[in-house]
């Protein structure tokens, strides 16, 4: 546990030691703003809620989260520091969790910095703040699921570009899996149960449920188990590379 926090702290510091963190945060804030006001028609809707803000998060994450996660392991492999990290007295699981928590914490910081949106909507009207809190939590959980996928993919390669593209693709499939675009492909050959399973994996479906203000335990379990599964896979990938 102690080791996890030490690793998290080191990782988090290294985000801010380079321009990566600042560039990411600025782009994230600019894009959430642009989407909310121009595409989401925040003002024209005339409603005091943040739907226009949250509904684009899955699509923003699709692009931005893999750009955080791609370096998690690929960079260590490229620079050789993985040899240093893995010969320190820490378990692989501690290293995986520590790195993930750093990235997730960083996502939380970026998300928290969108607070002016919340203030704005409270100044303009009387929104249901419970729904907004639920949406923030849902958005953060979804970011965690994206990050866990990206972290696992990053451990498979030492090339950050490959890590980015594969992570974005996998995340895209998970996001879209509730839509006909993906489901039709499965309907062609798969049994109904599988089609339903695939449909139930959709980030969009689960995130929309949370956005409606209902934090259903099933949605929480969905994201939590997805994070657990991908981090577990991440540990296995890192360990497999040891015996390769």
């Amino acid at each position: 546990m102690r080791n996890i926090l030490i690793i998290t702290r080191r990782e988090l510091k290294s985000y801010f030691a380079t321009p990566v963190a600042y560039v990411f945060i600025v782009i994230f804030l600019a894009m959430t703003g642009a989407f909310t006001f121009y595409i989401g028609n925040f003002f024209d809707r005339g409603r005091a809620d943040l739907d226009a803000f949250f509904q684009f998060h899955p699509w923003l994450y699709l692009l931005l989260i893999p750009s955080i996660s791609m370096r998690l392991w690929a960079e260590e492999r490229k620079t050789g520091t993985i040899e240093l990290l893995m010969t320190l007295p820490v378990t692989t699981a501690a290293a995986v969790i520590g790195k993930f928590l750093a990235a997730w914490g960083f996502a939380a910081i970026a998300l928290a910095l969108t607070f002016p949106m919340w203030i704005t909507v409270n100044v303009l009207g009387n929104p249901d703040n419970g729904v907004i809190v639920a949406s923030y939590i849902g958005s953060w959980l979804m970011a965690g699921a994206f990050l866990a996928i990206g972290s696992c993919v990053s451990a498979m390669t030492k090339n950050q570009v490959i890590a980015f593209i594969i992570a974005a693709t996998v995340c895209f499939l998970f996001t879209m899996s509730g839509l006909d675009l993906v489901l039709n492909f499965f309907r062609l050959w798969a049994p109904g149960l599988l089609v339903e399973t695939v449909a139930s994996m959709s980030f969009l479906t689960h995130f929309r449920a949370v956005m409606n203000g209902v934090i259903d335990i099933r949605d929480l379990i969905f994201f939590a188990s997805l994070i657990t599964f991908w981090l577990f896979a991440n540990v296995i990938v890192v360990d497999l590379k040891k015996s390769a």
């Binding site: 080791n3 030490i6 690793i7 080191r10 510091k13 290294s14 030691a17 380079t18 620079t79 050789g80 520091t81 040899e83 240093l84 893995m86 010969t87 320190l88 007295p89 820490v90 378990t91 040891k242 015996s243 390769a244």
Partner: protein, 319 residues
């Protein structure tokens, strides 16, 4: 301290390390030699727990690296090849991180980091980012990281690579200083380093141990070890050769000292200590025109080439 039994590593069809067995005790500094690609780094990576052996065991202080990796890693200081460090950190924050992971806190952490900074002389660059440091400093940051927790076992993969002669000297002195209460494995390409710091040397080639002994024992494998070299001006050489006939086996070889590449006489006497006296007597007696007479100690790099390439060690020249 370190005990390897039948340690083997395969990468697909490539057999990188082939049944390597040896042990290193406290107070021993083992020089690990071999051509590039011989399996040195792979062996060290397995001991440090970065790679898993395909078969065989590595035990450190009684703990098996495969079954109790964390226990082993606590007891090892490891400098990986190329001394990788987190370039965006400063040596100060990097060593802080290592100290924390190694279980030091508060005042103990500050003292440990302070001591190690003193030892490897990092003070002047402590707050500069590692990326901006010279190669020598980077290597020293890596070394500091390895010795920070005063481990029982040190695995150093080419610790002096890229250092200037003064820094090399300093690092060697540091290794010698730490040798008394540790088991140390040092891999190197620099054979003089083996003579300078190691109490034992292992040569590996194609994943297998091909020689194991003290540097002196390895030197003795050089056929010209303890042979006598007699140098004379070109025009006198034949005369000297005839005059010395009967003492040992005389052959002409190329002089290998810089600026003295003319042929010289090599007189092998099968380690007979009296041979030098007999030669100097003969020289005085016949008043031979000789420029220099010395005992050839043998050279590790000749032994190294001979063992790893099956190259004939000293070639006779046709005069």
């Amino acid at each position: 301290m370190i005990a390897l039994t039948d340690l083997t590593k395969r990468f697909g069809v490539l057999l990188a390390v082939d049944n390597v067995t040896f042990s290193v005790g406290k107070g021993q500094v083992l020089g690990f030699l071999g051509p590039n690609g011989a399996g040195k780094s792979t062996t060290m990576k397995m001991i440090a727990g970065f790679l898993e052996p395909s078969s065989g065991h590595a035990r450190i202080a009684g703990f098996d690296i495969t079954t109790s990796p964390v226990e082993v890693k606590k007891r090892i200081g490891y400098l990986p090849e190329g001394a990788p460090t987190y370039g965006d950190m400063t040596p100060a924050s990097f060593l802080d991180f290592i100290a924390e992971i190694r279980g030091f806190d508060g005042a103990a952490k500050t003292t440990r980091v302070g001591e190690v900074v003193e030892k490897v002389r990092l003070k002047e660059v402590l707050n500069q980012s590692i990326d901006t440091l010279s190669k020598g400093y980077k290597r020293r940051v890596g070394l500091a990281q390895a010795i920070l927790h005063d481990p029982d076992v040190l695995i150093l993969d080419e610790p002096t690579d890229g250092l200037d002669p003064n820094q090399k000297h300093h690092v060697r002195a540091l290794i010698r200083e730490m040798a008394a209460d540790k088991a140390i494995i040092v891999s190197t390409h620099i054979l003089e380093e083996v003579e300078a710091v190691c109490s034992r040397a292992i040569i590996i080639a194609q994943g297998r141990i091909v020689a194991d002994g003290s540097p002196e024992q390895l030197l003795a494998r050089d056929p010209s070890h303890n042979a006598i070299i007699v140098r004379a001006a070109r025009e006198h050489l034949s005369g000297v050769e005839t005059a010395l006939e009967g003492i040992g086996t005389i052959s002409r070889i190329n002089g290998n000292r810089p600026g003295q590449e003319d042929p010289v006489l090599l007189i092998a006497g099968n380690n007979d200590a009296s041979i030098i006296a007999r030669i100097s007597d003969r020289i005085r007696e016949k008043d031979l025109n000789v420029e220099e007479v010395y005992i050839e100690k043998g050279a590790l790099d000749r032994v190294f080439r001979q063992i790893t390439m099956d190259e004939s060690p000293l070639e006779a020249t046709d005069a």
